[in-house]
Symmetry: C2
Subunit: 159 residues, 2 copies
């Protein structure tokens, strides 16, 4: 019984790996020391539901420069680090477990179908759990309304 | 009338300055590039009410080292950067205007009455609007229950 369970678990893992295509975007090593740009709280009721949580936006040096200048050079990278939130008492929400590390990487020539940004995401922050399956089109769909802002949700908030 | 209003405004400013004692703790220049440790959301209903908002904790290099080792050297400094939150639609809360920049500065010999931490806060992030009036005792009161954790709210979250 235990053996069967392990086989099924392995099968699921292989299936998940097969479904996710490798975007070639490397895991953002060291992003926790990047510039913290801002945070957003997606409360219960937010759509898509999978994005509910406290999320922090980190920007690498090129992305900080882009936020200042309004133009993003290839290599500019944002990380959205999303956590479940937990009731900490006294009407406070604290960070719980990590849900996902999502990324936007600028490369105008490489990603023409998604606004010049490549999208990737790592479930639970695990470098081996890539979850973007469609070249980032589903991610990009929510960014399209922000085409006038380099497809970024953050506005009027220069570092 | 305009002159009278200016005189009254100046009087209020002088009064505010007179009420707040100067803790000698300098404004934390450059803190926005420090390590972002974590964030908390104090929802409506949180006490004290003035602390309602989205708040980010930043740590300088000595404070990061202290979080890792469990011992804080003099000079270790935390900044709590607190913002009003605003309804951004789609059940999301975004950062609004800055409410305060609050600080904890480690100096074991200088601040024996407040756990070895000095407290200061700058209203609206204005270096000229110091708001700590009592040597930090009111701030410290909420930290006393965390004496076993160096008087820090953050637990189990090493950088």
């Amino acid at each position: 019984m235990k053996f069967k369970a392990i086989v099924i678990a392995c099968g699921l893992a292989l299936t998940a790996t097969a479904l996710a295509e490798d975007t070639g975007i490397p895991f953002p090593e060291g992003y926790r020391s990047w510039f913290h740009h801002r945070s957003t709280v997606n409360m219960t009721g937010h759509q898509p539901e999978s994005n509910v949580g406290i999320q922090h936006v980190y920007a690498n040096a090129a992305a900080v420069e882009g936020l200042r200048s309004g133009t993003f050079a290839d290599g500019a990278t944002f990380v959205v680090d999303r956590f479940k939130y937990e009731d900490a008492g006294n009407s406070s929400l604290s960070q719980g477990s990590r849900k996902v590390i999502a990324m936007m990487v600028r490369n105008a020539a490489k990603y023409p179908e998604t606004g010049g940004w490549g999208f990737e995401a790592f479930k639970g922050g695990d470098p081996n759990q890539r979850v973007v399956k469609d070249g980032g089109k589903a991610c990009f769909a929510c960014h399209i309304p922000h085409a006038d802002n380099n497809y970024l949700f953050s506005r009027n908030d220069k570092p």
